[in-house]
Amino acid sequence: MKNTIYIFSDGELKRKDNTIFFENENGKKFIPVENTSEIMIFGEVTLNKRFLEFLTQSEIILHFFNRYEYYVGSYYPREHLNSGYVILKQAEHYNDQNKRLFLAQKFIEGSYKNMIVVLKYYNNRGTDLNKIILSIEELSKKIYDTKSISELMAYEGNIRDIYYLAFDNIIGIEEFNFQRRTKRPPLNYLNTLISFGNSLIYTTVLSEIYKTHLDPRIGYLHSTNFRSFTLNLDIAEIFKPIIVDRIIFSLLGRKKISTDDFENNLEGIILKEKGMKTFVEEFQSKLETVINHPHIGKSATYRTIIRMEAYKIEKHIIGDEEYNPFISQW
């Protein structure tokens, strides 16, 4: 498995001796190019075109985040796995209302079922969440009857609202009360953590899509537009509860992140560097966690499972095998 490199410090990234070289006042560091698949950049980093050319050759993706931790964009090297056939099929599934709705419903299905898996885990551990689980199950029946994407999105929004109600019970720390979901900027500590985790998962899924034939610009639940990648947002919906939310619960439960790890800023509340590093370490070890995959009957890391999800979508659109989302077993 190739590594992800996270850069928080400021410095210069360049090509040197046919590998990646990072230099700043604290020292010099060679990064093995053959063992790297993506670089996440949070610090102020200088780089040049020669370096980007080298990354294209080595099929390494760069993801940039600004100083408020928002996702800025990616350097997505020219597609190395080109398949006109898959792109045509992908577009066909977007243009056909029924085909598009089918996939969108599947993403929501994966999302809510994984939410329930997370809630049930905490329910069994003595946090009473039965009511919330029941009302999500009740609402979720309607998603299969929806006739349009906007209708589906409305139900998804309702499910998510109910789901977030459970957060305060699970976390049980007053400073980390949920209140309501706020983005751009997040207005309280918990929202900051959710936003940060979500942007990490979006970029991770994007990196995994890069290893398949799929075009990340054509999504199904999220409308395709002129600006951004959307397929990664769709797939991320399935994994947010079991990866991001679980990380947040466990970090707060073990008191690894406290209010000291945040700072108040004109742009809302942001994580300090130490807090970000703690989160990223946890995120990284989560992705490397090996679990049993029911579909193939073998064990795999979460990162591999994300990539397999992309393969399953590819299989679905070329008519090989109907897509069913990954549902966590515990």
């Binding site: 590594n3 490199i5 996270y6 001796d17 990072f22 060679f30 190019v33 370490e281 990284q284």
Partner: protein
Amino acid sequence: MFVIFVYDVNQKRVNKVLKTARKYLNWVQNSVLEGEITEGNFKKLKIELKRIIKEDEDSLIFYTFESLKYSSREIIGLKKGGEELIL
């Protein structure tokens, strides 16, 4: 698999060996590198290195591990290099 690579080569070729190995592994100390590597990349690395060295003069040693479960790593004194994913 995980590999520890140590080399003792003629001074003229030290730099070439280091530069090649750094593409695949993390530098740890003078003449020592280590890291996670795939079978394919390991073969590539060995082929590239064979082209550089003179087999009657230089010596390269690879220690490979299927898993690091039964190993431990202890440093006394300075930490000079090694893998870092968060910079």
